[in-house]
Symmetry: C2
Subunit: 158 residues, 2 copies
DNA sequence: AAATAATTAATCGTGCACGATTGATTAAAG
DNA sequence: CTTTAATCAATCGTGCACGATTAATTATTT
């Protein structure tokens, strides 16, 4: 029963920190008219251009219900191009336009300045990163478990 | 420049963990037709009944643009009552209905079962909680700083 | 007392998240 | 080859978040 209180506090502080972090990035990204999720898509494409919607979804843990409109907005703003794959017409290919490729340096620069301007020493949080990644994996495993096994203790019996 | 990569990773894992945690709670709360933010409001009221919208906002770091519709939905579902304060007609008082008060035990129970069922040992994450709270405070301080000081290095000079 | 400022909730518009479903296309089974 | 199953993107509806503004009320100043 004391575990619930701890879970509540942990969840709440993760929730708060996520909102704060997003707000922080939003400030750096505002001059480019980008949101944080849009920036994540660009990050994925900077690592590897020309991915499918599905691949980007695997990387960001998002599905088409979120990605379809998100990618459409990013295309609308001229960062990327969406086009059906000729080989497999189910898939949607995503690739950077020049604007998207060229923006990598200035955008990273803006974020770096924002970090500096706030004298935020993120390197202090290396341990925070490690612990939260472990928590992330634990939660993902726990949640994945009972999408496989539907429910209850009688799996595979009916 | 390496700091940006670290910040990106940290922010992304916080973002992921927040979504996973919410999903975890959502599963426990679904039988009560409650969302995680709605549960947070109930948590606040269980600690202290009869608060104003403003007070709840201070506790959850949310403002009226989010809380007004959120509280309206919670009232709609019969958990709480919203009523203008007679003393100060600007304020909106929020208090639990019987349904809201009585649900505390069964809801906490459902969450506890969910924790157990997933064999999630949250107590392992006491250190995660500490580090993330520190990160939360750092970010909040950094972001608060330049809502006070508007921008640039020439504050208070014009 | 009258004018001004501050506080508070509500409103508006946009953009995620996400459960659930649908329709198109491809792969696999019979 | 045809039927069936699997895959993938899109769509739909709901509920947050949040920047920005507005309107009502109260507090403060003059």
């Amino acid at each position: 029963m004391e575990d619930i209180k701890l879970a509540n506090q942990l969840c709440f502080s993760v929730y708060n920190t996520s909102r704060l972090f997003t707000k922080f990035y939003q400030k750096a990204l505002s001059e480019f008219n980008l949101t944080y999720p849009q920036y994540l898509v660009l990050l994925a494409l900077w690592e590897e251009d020309h991915q499918t919607l599905h691949q980007i979804g695997r990387r960001l843990h998002l599905e088409s219900n979120t990605l379809t409109p998100l990618l459409r907005r990013i295309e609308q703003a001229g960062w990327i191009i969406r086009e059906k794959s000729p080989q497999d017409k189910r898939q949607l290919g995503i690739r950077l336009k020049d604007k998207g490729r060229d923006a990598q340096e200035p955008i990273q620069q803006a974020i770096a300045e924002c970090l500096g301007h706030e004298h935020l020493d993120i390197s202090e949080y290396r341990e925070a990163h490690e612990t939260i990644v472990k928590l992330e994996e634990t939660l993902r495993a726990a949640l994945a478990e009972d999408t496989d096994k539907p429910k209850g203790k009688f799996n595979g019996l009916m």
